[in-house]
Amino acid sequence: MSRKKKKGKKQRAAREGAAPASPTAESAPTVAEPAPRAPVAEAREPEAEVPPTPPAQVTPPARPAVEAAPSGSTVADLDADLDDDGSSDYQSLVALVANLPDETTPTSRAPAKASRRDTELDEELEVVDLDDDGGGEAVDRLIAKAVVGAPPDEVEEEPEVPVIDLDADEPPASRSGRTAGPIAAANQEAARLALAAARGAVDEDDVPPISLDLGEVSTPEARARLLAQALAHAEHQEARYRVPTDTGATRRWKGVLATLVFVLAGWVAVAPPGWVVPEPPAQMTAAARARAIRSALLLQAQQVEAFRVEVQRLPASLEELPSRLPGIGYARAGNRAYQLIAYEPSGNAIVFDSSDPSPPFQALMSAWPPAEEGP
């Protein structure tokens, strides 16, 4: 039970004497001045000093008020029904409120028309006239007044106090559809008030403690994310063990295509066409190779001549020379002539005879040894 509810019940208990006051005032409907109400209130003063009782015990004092007002005292009836939590429910209360105009109109409208200039009388008329406000607010004020027994202005200050007890008896869904007209409007208003009470009238202290374990609580987004991750993992695992296969026709044309490409690659690799092979590197011709060998023999002969100039004899072998070229043979004929022999790759021997060089050597000797460079 919220603080407001407790406070409202306490106020209701404190105003216990005001509830019978209304029937008393209503019993004299022709009263135009608010003055008569003051004595009644003063007369009730001693009763108000009675210690406050729980809300359930508020009803017994109202019973005598109902009995004191024999007929037409609808407020007293409402008070009695509202306080009787065990016997009456919201439906009976609504039915009672719906019947109010029929019972009160003859007795209340006449004094209302007669005393419109009096504000106190306007309060009386406002309580009983359901047609002016379309039923919603009138029923609200009527219920508030019936339960609390306080003037409408005081009820408006705390409208949620009596509504909480009404909604606790029966859910709004069960009430809809069974009433019509003003009853339906009252039901709607009651539902609205019930929702408001559920939202605002409930104290935070009354909320049962909830064990919140943030590690176990999950949001829909978190659950969706976890589900997506699980699906992606499953798809990944499935893809790892997936073995693609081809149909018969696809396998056939792929095999043919692969074979053709393999054959083409083999042909290009083994016997490449001209447009594939780039320009080959330079190759020495046989003539160029023979000329190169003669040049080498001529250079080696220069080493032998230099040795003879320096030593005044021919070398016994080429090993005596400080420099020699590979692949050249040496043959000495006496102490004046010698021969140098080299072979072409084809096997032909090229011989340099120091006593009679061949014409090719004579042609080379004109350019060999290299001419001196000018200063």
């Binding site: 499935e238 295509l257 690659a265 590197p281 040049s295 220069q302």
Partner: protein, 182 residues
């Protein structure tokens, strides 16, 4: 699910087609790639030979003698500056060698002819040739690639070069007989 699997993965036919295409591309591109790498190698060898020859001529000009001959792949002490420059003497596919050769020239030598009465006139006596030995430098390139040797012979065809066995040699003219005095 099975259809999706077929569409998602590669089948054996796809793998065969991929391998065949890869083989064809390799067969088409390998000759061009090989020729390109060979051209780059030839150009680099020619550049190395020219740089060594230029350095040796510079040493000859400054000191009056050719650098000291060394073994293949080793730079002469006089060409130490080239040893650290991209190692031109020791490549993967060839090695350079600095060598020095002797060359014999014949020069006219003055004759001490004593003319006596009754002899022939001096004009009828021919000049005497005297052999003179001088040194020439040479850059030798050792390689087992005949294409490289042939390419070098073709590039330096206008100079005194030759190919013998696995050696291509470029002989540099010199002025050793009349060395320049610094």
């Amino acid at each position: 699910m099975t259809g999706a699997s077929n569409r998602a993965g590669a089948t054996a036919g796809d793998a065969l087609i991929f391998l065949a295409t890869l083989s064809l591309a390799a067969a088409l591109l390998y000759p061009a790639w090989s020729a390109r790498t060979s051209r780059d190698r030839f150009a680099r060898a020619a550049t190395d030979v020219e740089s060594v020859a230029a350095a040796a001529r510079s040493v000859l000009t400054t000191s009056g003698a050719w650098p000291t001959p060394t073994a293949p792949g080793q730079a002469p002490p006089e060409l130490g500056g080239l040893a650290g420059q991209d190692q031109p003497f020791g490549r993967v596919d060839y090695a350079l060698e600095w060598t020095s050769w002797s060359v014999v020239d014949s020069i006219d030598a003055p004759t001490d002819i004593v003319i006596t009465p009754g002899d022939a006139p001096p004009d009828s006596v021919g000049p005497v040739q005297r052999p003179v030995v001088r040194r020439v430098g040479a850059v030798a390139l050792h390689s087992g690639d005949p294409a490289l040797l042939a390419e070098m012979a073709e590039r330096f065809v206008d100079e005194s070069s030759f190919v013998l066995d696995t050696i291509w040699m470029l002989v540099l003219p010199d002025r050793a007989s009349t060395p320049a005095v610094p």
